[in-house]
């Protein structure tokens, strides 16, 4: 019925094994007005192959949007990129406080598809004005009519109405605006598109339309790879070839989308996936467990493995040492338990201790008390 799984399958065959991007040792921090340094992305390295969609998953505050800002070269105050390198097609771009970023990298090598297209186009300009400005920024000599013709072709190719070009942003619906912005982001056929929560504000039908369009763009070789950032795991599973799960500024696990979804190798991924609810019979009348506690304050992150305070599998070593990356650069899990138990599925029951069960007990007791109090009150 739906064609997105087949598209995703196409995408999988499309992935070639040629390296598109290598990002090394990315570190970025926010500086609070009080002068505190909050490291939001801490020494993260990722790689993407040609034709691939890499999904970045994680809860709010895990650093996934910060990672998107670094990769799209759009970090700005109070976020400061403190170090790292991007390597695309053998061209290197150093990052850091003193590094100079070539303007034309933005938009043509890496391009940003921002969160909430609502305000991404200046309210007093038409879509076509931005389209022309974007083209001219990378090709001084381009003529207005020529630029607009190219944009019109692109709109038609992707099944968008060409008259959207003449609209002011407020005249477009939310889903249409997000798609229009997607086309603008990819006008210059960038090598890599960084999509930061593009679907989060959309209804499921618009979500699906956008995802289909992104995959079609990959098929049409408009761009060579996508980094897709969202907290929505089912969306990621639909769109990605590989998924990286971030926790507290670090990558907890990275692997094939299918493998992550079916047999996660990191306790955090397992717990996160365990809390996903989808409309399938298995989820009715089954008690799903959330992760107890909340993500750490990055101003003062826990020592060792950052997940250890919430992890039922945590051992002594987890509290002291940084976990190793078990696997290779494209597929690994940063976990001592995985290292010690290769090939064993993560036991979800042990990751999340029985706190939930005791809570239900307490509830029962209290219910009785409450009932008693109620009677007394009457």
């Amino acid at each position: 019925m739906t064609d997105s799984p087949s598209r995703a399958a196409n995408a999988r065959t499309r992935a070639t094994g040629l390296r598109l991007l290598d990002a090394h040792n990315l570190t970025a921090a926010y500086y609070t007005p009080e002068g505190n340094r909050v490291v939001a992305v801490d020494d993260v390295s990722i790689s993407i192959n040609e034709g691939e969609v890499l999904g970045i998953a994680g809860e709010s505050g895990c650093g996934k949007s910060t990672l998107g800002a670094i990769l799209s070269l759009t970090a700005r105050e109070p976020l400061v990129v403190e170090g790292g390198t991007l390597e695309v097609d053998g061209k290197q771009q150093r990052l850091g406080p003193r590094a100079k970023v070539q303007r034309t990298w933005r938009g043509s090598v890496v391009s940003l598809l921002p969160q909430g297209a609502m305000n991404s186009i200046s309210p007093t300009m038409r879509v076509r004005d931005l389209v022309f400005d974007v083209m001219r920024a990378h090709d001084r000599g381009v003529k207005r009519s020529e630029a607009l013709d190219r944009a019109r072709d692109r709109f038609e190719e992707l099944g968008l109405p060409a008259r959207a070009l003449d609209a002011y942003p407020h005249q477009l619906s939310g889903g249409m605006k997000q798609r229009v912005v997607t086309v603008i982001s990819t006008l210059l056929n960038p090598r890599l598109l960084i999509a930061d929560e593009p679907t989060s504000a959309l209804d499921v039908s618009s979500q699906k339309a956008l995802i289909d369009m992104l995959l079609q763009m990959l098929d049409n070789k408009i761009m060579s790879g996508v980094v897709f950032i969202t907290h929505d795991l089912p969306v990621l599973r639909t769109v990605s070839n590989r998924i990286a799960v971030m926790y507290a500024g670090k990558i907890a696990e990275i692997g094939d989308a299918e493998q992550i979804a079916s047999e996660p190798r990191h306790p955090y991924s397992a717990a996160l996936l365990g809390s996903v609810l989808v409309p399938e019979p298995g989820f009715r009348n089954k008690r799903v467990k959330g992760i107890p506690g909340s993500p750490p304050n990055l101003l003062n992150p826990p020592s060792g493995c950052r997940f250890h305070p919430r992890c039922g599998l945590a051992m002594d070593v987890c509290t002291k040492e940084e976990p190793p990356e078990v696997g290779d650069v494209l597929r690994f899990s940063s976990c001592f338990w995985t290292q010690q138990n290769p090939g064993t599925p993560v036991p979800l029951d042990r990751v999340i201790p029985s706190e939930e069960a005791t809570m239900v007990e307490t509830d029962r007791e209290l219910a009785d008390q409450l009932a008693g109090a109620e009677e007394g009150a009457r």
Binding site: S72, L73, T74, R76, R103, T104, W105, R106, G107, S108, S111, L112, P114, G116, M118, N119, S120, I121, S122, P123, T124, M125, L130, D133, V134, A137, H138, Y168, P169, H170, Q171, V181, I184, S185, L188
Partner: protein, 336 residues
């Protein structure tokens, strides 16, 4: 159409505001205890400038003009009737000169110092504000504190300081009046050459303040726009700084243009005291003399004039905003 409806609703409000303004202008001077004409005539008599016969004629003239022997509501109608004919009445202190001609003499002078100051101040102020917001750093700090200081300085205080330092202490420019003694205002180049030396000081005293105010306003609006999503997106698409700055300006400009229109409307009453400081022969000085001689036909005509100009400017801005696509306006003014 929607626009007609919008216009109609606005017009009703402005008619009410106009009515209230007229009522205030009519009523408040009459709150002074005693019959104003008695007061005036007795004052003129004390001055000894007029004979008994003349006195009586003047008295009769004013009683008739104001309809003071009639009930209040009829007096108000008489007042409105005169206004409808564009007749502002006869001055007390410079009887029998009409108020119309006194105002007509003074008005060009006020406009001559105000309009250029507003226009130039607006352009320069917005430029400074925008550049400060965009450049940041020391330029921003200096421009901001300087502009804040300039905009907070009472305009008449700056006038006094300039008059003293430039006019009196260094003697660079003449220190009072609108033109040299002995000349009569005319359109000859020689008169302009003379008048412009008198014009510089009041002009500067206003333009500096105006630059400051505009710069502060523009800077904060531009800073606000700098934080918006489209700036970040534009950068992410590799747009040049100049291009993005143009987007910012376009959006930050709209309220500034409104401000310009309103400043022009408020022009007549905008720098009353400046004229006083420089004895400049404009509306402010006229108002001052009207107050000091209790010339209340002149006095209330000036206040009415100021009100009308401001009301008209407000109304024009509203119409302009109605013409601009309301949805653009909605998008611009944000969530509401």
């Amino acid at each position: 159409m929607d626009f007609a409806k919008y216009l109609g609703r606005k017009a009703i409000w402005y008619v009410i505001a106009l009515f209230v303004a007229l009522l205030l202008n009519f009523l408040l001077p009459r709150l002074i205890p005693g019959n104003p004409v008695d007061t005036i005539v007795s004052q003129m008599a004390r001055g000894g400038g007029a004979s008994g016969e003349q006195m009586k004629a003047i008295y009769a003239h004013y009683m008739q003009q104001f309809g003071l022997d009639k009930p209040m509501w009829e007096q108000f109608l008489v007042y409105l009737g005169h206004l409808a004919h564009g007749n502002l009445g006869t001055s007390f202190s410079q009887y029998p000169t009409s108020v119309n001609s006194l105002v007509a003499q003074a008005l060009p002078w006020s406009i001559a110092i105000q309009l250029p100051a507003i226009l130039i101040g607006w352009v320069v102020g917005n430029l400074i504000g925008a550049v400060a917001a965009y450049r940041g750093g020391w330029f921003d700090k200096g421009a901001f504190v300087g502009s804040l200081f300039a905009s907070s300085m009472p305009y008449y205080c700056l006038a006094i300081v300039l008059l003293f330092v430039v006019g009196v202490h260094f003697g660079f420019l003449p220190i009072g009046g609108g033109y040299s003694l002995g000349l009569t205002p005319n359109l000859s180049p020689s008169f302009f050459g003379d008048a412009i030396t008198y014009w510089w000081l009041p002009f500067w005293s206003l333009v500096i303040i105006f630059v400051g105010g505009q710069a502060v306003g523009m800077r904060s609006m531009a800073i606000y726009e700098l934080g918006s999503d489209y700036v970040n997106y534009g950068r992410g698409l590799g747009l040049g700084d100049g291009r993005i700055v143009r987007y910012i300006f376009r959006n930050a400009m709209l309220p500034q243009i409104t401000g310009l229109a309103l400043s022009i409307g408020g022009m007549i009453g905008g720098a009353l005291v400046t004229e006083l400081v420089f004895s400049y022969p404009g509306i402010g000085t006229l108002l001052f003399s009207a107050i000091s001689t209790n010339d209340y036909p002149l006095f209330s005509s000036i206040t009415l004039l100021i009100t009308l100009a401001v009301l008209a400017a407000n109304f024009c801005v509203e119409i302009a905003y109605g013409i601009i696509d309301p949805r653009i306006r909605a998008a611009h003014s944000g969530e509401r």
